[in-house]
């Protein structure tokens, strides 16, 4: 998934911020509660402490305060202990307020970022499911898994930390700076001098870290891919006794991930705490220039202490900025990886003005069709074939001749590189994908069974199917008796990737699944049929039920299938070399004879016996 996809940070940020729109209300609440959570407490608590000192602990003679007067008047409390108790109680009350704001604030924050993640995951899934086969064929599961998981986590931090804190921190910084300026503007300007350096270091950092982060994340993909492979293909690995070699391969990726992550960490670890120097310089400036002013008498000691106290309020946000920048950068890099999936790989697009196919008769026509899988040598060349409605066509050929490619063009798994494929006279590229694929049933070699119940698997193509329909299809496909014998019947879950089913059972599930959708055109690959003596007749029945009244393209290696087909197409090296009835081809096509020979010989011998 290396591509030219390279949007700027700014574009990515804008796009990320766009996701907040539906949750604008929540976002505003987040910022308000953030202020309630920290603002109220940090603004008021120091004031109360001041009151405690000035009016209770070291009473300043003659000083007046409306709040203290209010307490004295309304509650008729006059002793110092009593007022202390009230004031301390106020602090406690503020803490309670902060406590509740905190919980509310975090709740909204969680709601917003999780909702956005949910939207984004949904979009990712939607994007994936609408991708072309050539895209899906290239992309690795590991790449996708890490996007759904670790990249989403990075984006979570972007929303929950960066977006929110940036606002609050800026506010806090602004207020603190304003206070400093009001105390002593000259001193304030001197001490704030180091602050712009934050932005200089930030720029330096951001420009360097992005590439390293991306490298680490991409390495994480490779690591995940090896992991997934190690898990899915563990039987093979064991079978070959290659556990150690594979483990070495895994270790290599694992270590590369550590190395690449550390490369990012090295930059981060220098940058993130670098603001302590800027902050320390600021404090030192306060000390030196403020101290000199105190010595010169232009500043009181109290003012200096106050100045120092407020200056430290700036340090917090400044330090936080560095952290936020990390979250931000991390989020943006992950966003790039996710948006890339959204934006790239739509080479079998839904037509601009999709034509809704009516119920098909089932005619298929290939006109001068050539095809290659993205850049590799041509798989099909100048194929012309016309299939009439209801015709059963057997497609036979040597391994790698292009049989599967031919059939995959009909439901538009791929688009032709030249020529045209049409059904009932409509170019498949003009039809809406749903109306096209919804009328084509496909039973291929690689049968995928979902890790759900039998019922769910059977009605996969027609979710609204009734139980009766499901049972009827299972019966037609000769799966009913077996499923029914299970303790939980149709509600029995099937193991992942159908591992707990035999090949024959999987095939029959696929047949039943396709029967339910009642397609007009069938694409069938009967070469993997794990038929055996007992079920051969039944499987035949199942397939016959499937074929009845439908146009069918049957990829086969079986002589018996060819014999019963209306038409046999022999493909060799991407070209149709013969078309005709079984008997005719036996006489005319030498290649056909080669393909059929091994299946006829024995019976001749038998006949001779």
């Amino acid at each position: 998934m290396k591509s030219e996809y390279n949007p700027s940070n700014w574009e990515l940020t804008r796009r990320l911020i766009g996701y907040i729109k539906p949750y604008m209300g929540t976002y505003i609440l987040i910022n308000l509660t953030a202020f309630g959570r920290e603002g109220v407490y940090s603004l008021l608590a120091p004031l109360i402490v001041m009151l405690i000192i000035d009016f209770v602990l070291v009473p300043v003679p003659g000083a007046q305060n409306w709040f203290i007067d209010l307490v004295k008047l309304r509650m008729s409390i006059n002793d110092r202990s009593g007022i202390l108790f009230i004031l301390v109680g106020c602090i406690f009350l503020l803490a309670l307020i902060r406590f509740s704001f905190f919980v509310i604030h975090r709740y909204f924050r969680g709601v917003m970022s999780q909702n956005i993640l949910r939207d984004m995951r949904r979009q990712l899934y939607e994007a994936l499911i609408n991708k072309s086969f050539s895209y899906l064929g290239q992309i690795k599961t590991g790449q996708i898994i890490s996007r759904v998981t670790s990249d989403m986590n990075a984006i979570d931090l972007f929303y929950s930390e960066t977006v929110r804190e940036l606002f609050r921190m800026s506010l806090q910084l602004g207020i603190a700076v304003a206070i400093l300026l009001s105390i002593n503007s000259q001193l304030a300007l001197i001490t704030l001098l180091p602050l712009p350096f934050i932005f200089v270091t930030m720029r330096l950092y951001l420009s360097r870290v992005r590439g390293r982060m991306l490298a680490a994340k991409n390495q994480f993909d490779s690591l995940n891919s090896v992991l997934i492979e190690g898990i899915t293909a563990q039987k093979l690995i064991k079978g070959f006794g290659q556990e150690e070699a594979f483990a070495a391969r895994f270790s290599k990726e694992n270590e590369a991930y550590v190395t690449k992550s550390l490369r990012t960490a090295r930059l981060q670890s220098v940058y993130t705490p670098s603001n302590t120097v800027i902050a320390a310089t600021g404090v030192a400036l306060v000390l030196v220039f403020g101290g000199i002013r105190v010595l010169a008498g232009s500043l009181t000691l109290g003012e200096l202490v106050l100045f120092g106290a407020y200056f430290t309020q700036i340090v917090g946000p400044v330090r936080m900025y560095a952290r936020l920048m990390d979250f931000y950068q991390d989020g943006v890099v992950s966003a790039k990886r996710i948006f890339e999936v959204f934006d790239v790989g739509r080479d079998v697009p839904e037509p601009e003005h999709p034509f809704e196919l009516p119920r098909l008769k089932g005619e298929i026509e290939f006109k001068e069709v050539s095809f290659s899988y993205g850049g590799t040598s041509e798989v099909l060349r100048d194929v012309n074939l016309k299939v009439l409605a209801g015709e059963k066509v057997a497609i036979i050929g040597f391994v790698g001749s292009g049989k599967s490619a031919l059939t995959e063009l009909v439901p538009r798994f791929y688009d032709v590189t030249a020529g045209q494929v049409s059904v009932d006279g409509h170019d498949v590229r003009e039809a809406s994908l749903k109306s096209l694929r919804g009328q084509i049933g496909i039973v291929l070699q690689d049968i995928y069974i979902f890790s759900e119940t039998f019922k769910e698997n059977l009605r996969f193509g027609k979710p609204e199917a009734t139980d009766e329909e499901v049972v009827a299809a299972a019966k037609a496909a000769q799966m009913h008796d077996y499923i029914d014998s299970l303790p939980k019947g149709y509600d029995t879950p099937v193991g992942e990737r159908g591992l707990t089913l035999s090949g024959g059972q999987r095939q029959r599930i696929a047949i039943a699944r396709t029967l339910l959708t009642n397609p007009r055109i069938l694409i069938l690959d009967d070469s993997t049929s794990n038929v055996d003596a007992e079920t051969e007749v039944q499987i035949r029945k199942a397939i016959d039920a499937l074929l009845e009244g439908r146009t069918a393209l049957i990829i086969t290696q079986r002589a018996s299938t060819c014999e019963s087909a209306d038409k046999v197409v022999v493909i060799d090296q991407g070209q149709i070399i013969a078309i005709g009835k079984h008997m005719k081809l036996l006489k005319e096509s030498e290649k056909y004879r080669m393909l059929i020979e091994s299946q006829t010989l024995t019976l001749e011998q038998e006949a001779d016996d």
């Binding site: 301390v88 705490p273 310089t281 404090v283 496909i442 038929v531 079986r558 006829t600």
Partner: protein, 622 residues
């Protein structure tokens, strides 16, 4: 293959039950993983010490400067630092010192401390990352290696998507546990203890107030703890099932698209997606309540100190300056506790992740190498199943009293209906499972007595599903014997007829195989897998419907190749295709887990009804 007999049940792996205590998990991480990187741990410890000192020294320098040089109220115990500052000032002013220079040099020291702090923090950050990454790499590696050891049945019922989530998400969460969790907590505790010590020196009565609250906080938090952790565990499981869905999509995309069920698939995913978002929010909220509670208590402590300290000031037992200093210390004492609670959510999430990993790590594989396992003696490759009984689940016998013995150099076909136990025989000969009764032997040696590696060198298995690994075709072909030469590889590739198609690819043998590769057809991939097994040079070759998608003509050629290649070797063929079985030296017809008939093709056609019927159906007359 047996249906639904779970020796391992995904359900129980994914249960929400607690299996480890927090402390048990932390102890295990420290003992098994942190101690492996002792030097990094020691480095971290010294960095934390240095950092604490530097952090505490900044305000001290500030205070001393203020007291000594600005307000002119020096305290005797601060003299040593004041002297140092004066000395630096004198060097700066080349002998003549002014108050002005004193302050400047104090400022310089302050900046120097800041720079030192930067350095120390950089190191801390770096080593923290390094330690975290290394530990996580170790855990991931342990997990992975353990999976490779686990027996077959674990995978039959395990959901790979969920396993993947464990090894990616959960391991990543663990990294946080190590960095912000264990190390962060230790650093904070050190700081807390140092500050508490200072507080006791200042005023022990007030210090007691702060200390007394600690057990109350502890009780409240441990109560909340349960909820927090449970919620995080649920959240982690939700992520896992979402990952599973996405993996399902990736593998099953063809079916989904072929049946135009994109919308349904999306709505299914969305259910999991929404559930996940809800679980995450719930977990976060409970974690937040926890954090807020700790914040509340810290405010309570401050309040109490202001109250009792205030009383003392009123009673003139305490100077106002000391009270102010004390409250400042209280905040910094509570800071570490606040920090711990801030990371508490993360830590809990990580602990839930750790638990999910350790649960798998603790599963003991049931096919294990005997401690005194032997290498295979040289032999002819005779496979024997003696009185073998086998089942995946207790009362569902798959094989009943099987007796099969191959002859030296024989090509034996195993033939039988669905569920007859064909695949189980392969699982037993490859020792992916052990029989319940009886023995499987090769050249008279019980498989349970030999080293697994030796066994698998001897037995080559080609499965029906032609799985190719990521990497080049060369890597795939040499997978079973990486040190095979290119000549051998090409020779075998030519034999099975894939050399030409491979050379037509843009990069030939160096072409990258795609995951759901479209650069080779299904049949061609089966041939690559067959070549892979031949290159690994086994004494016994097992073909499990290995050429099901290869046309009969090519298959015939390959059968002849195998005959020539496997002289004096054993071939076990499991297939349904008569054209494949026909050339075998002997055919065993398996039915219902028992041997029903055996003989050559010609014999069976005559004596076995089922066999003949099948032949008639598959073959055509001319």
């Amino acid at each position: 293959m047996a249906e639904f007999a779970g020796r391992y049940d995904v359900g129980s792996l994914e249960s929400t039950e607690r299996r480890f205590s927090d402390w048990g998990l932390v102890k295990r991480i420290i003992k098994d993983y942190m101690l492996r990187h002792m030097s990094l741990v020691v480095a971290m410890a010294s960095i934390i010490m240095a950092k604490t000192t530097l952090v505490l020294s900044g305000p001290y320098i500030y205070k001393v400067t203020l007291d000594t040089f600005i307000s002119g109220t020096p305290e005797p115990n601060e003299r040593w630092l004041a002297d140092i500052i004066r000395e630096i000032a004198q060097t700066l002013g080349s002998g003549t010192a002014t108050q002005w220079l004193d302050i400047v040099s104090a400022g310089l020291i302050y900046v120097a401390v800041g720079i030192a702090l930067w350095g120390v923090m950089s190191l801390q950050e770096y080593y923290l990352n390094k330690l975290g990454l290394n530990i996580i790499a170790d855990i991931r590696s342990d997990f992975f290696l353990h999976l490779e050891k686990l027996s077959q049945n674990f995978f039959e019922y395990g959901n790979t998507g969920k396993l993947v989530s464990r090894v990616t998400n959960d391991a990543e969460a663990l990294r946080k546990l190590v960095s912000s969790g264990i190390i962060g907590v230790v650093a904070d505790l050190i700081a807390a203890v140092a500050i508490l010590g200072t507080m006791f020196l200042l005023n022990w009565q007030l210090a007691l107030v702060a200390v007394v609250m600690a057990p109350i906080i502890a009780i409240v938090t441990t109560t909340l703890n349960r909820f927090v952790r449970n919620n995080w565990r649920v959240a982690r499981q939700n992520i896992a099932s979402m990952t599973g869905k996405v993996q399902d999509l990736m593998v099953g995309a063809k079916v989904t698209k072929a049946m135009a069920q994109e919308e349904k698939s999306l709505s299914d995913f969305n259910k999991v997606n929404v559930a996940n978002a809800k679980a995450q929010i719930k977990a976060e909220v409970t974690a937040n309540i926890y954090e807020a509670t700790v914040g509340f208590f810290s405010a309570l402590i401050s309040t109490l100190i202001w109250f009792f300290g205030g009383q003392q000031v009123i009673g003139a037992y305490l100077a106002i300056g000391d009270l102010v200093a004390f409250t400042q210390y209280t905040t910094s004492y509570l800071d570490p506790i606040q920090n711990i609670s801030t990371f508490y959510g993360e830590i809990q999430s990580a602990l839930a992740g750790a638990e999910r990993i350790f649960v798998v790590l603790d599963i003991v594989p049931d096919v294990k190498e005997a401690p005194d396992a032997i290498d295979f003696p040289e032999g002819e490759g005779v496979v024997e199943l003696k009185d073998v009984r086998f089942s995946y689940a207790k009362d569902q016998p798959i094989l009943k009293e099987i007796n099969i013995k191959t002859r030296p150099g024989e090509r034996l076909a195993i033939f039988g209906p669905t569920g007859s136990g064909k695949s189980s025989i392969i699982n037993l000969v490859g020792r992916f499972y052990d029989p319940d009764f009886g023995a499987v032997t090769i050249d008279g040696v019980d498989l349970r007595r030999v080293k697994l590696k030796a066994l698998r060198r001897r037995v080559g298995i080609v499965l029906q599903e032609p799985f190719l690994f990521q990497g080049t075709l060369r890597y795939n072909l040499k997978f079973g014997r990486p040190n095979a030469t290119d000549e051998e590889m090409i020779r075998v590739a030519k034999l099975v007829g894939i050399h030409d198609p491979i050379t037509r690819l843009p990069s030939g043998y160096d072409e990258e195989v795609r995951e759901r590769g479209s650069n080779l057809s299904y049949g061609q991939r089966q041939l690559v897998c067959l070549a892979r097994a031949l290159i690994s040079d086994p004494k016994i070759l097992i073909l499990d419907e290995a050429t099901s998608s290869v046309d009969p003509y090519t298959e015939q050629l390959i059968q002849n190749v195998l005959k020539a290649e496997m002289v004096n070797r054993t071939i076990l063929i499991v297939t349904h295709r008569v054209s494949t079985v026909r050339d075998a030296d002997r055919v065993i017809v398996l039915n219902n887990g028992a041997v029903q008939a055996e003989g050559t093709h010609n014999q069976l056609v005559k004596k076995n009804e089922l066999y003949r019927r099948l032949c008639e159906m598959q073959l055509v007359k001319v």
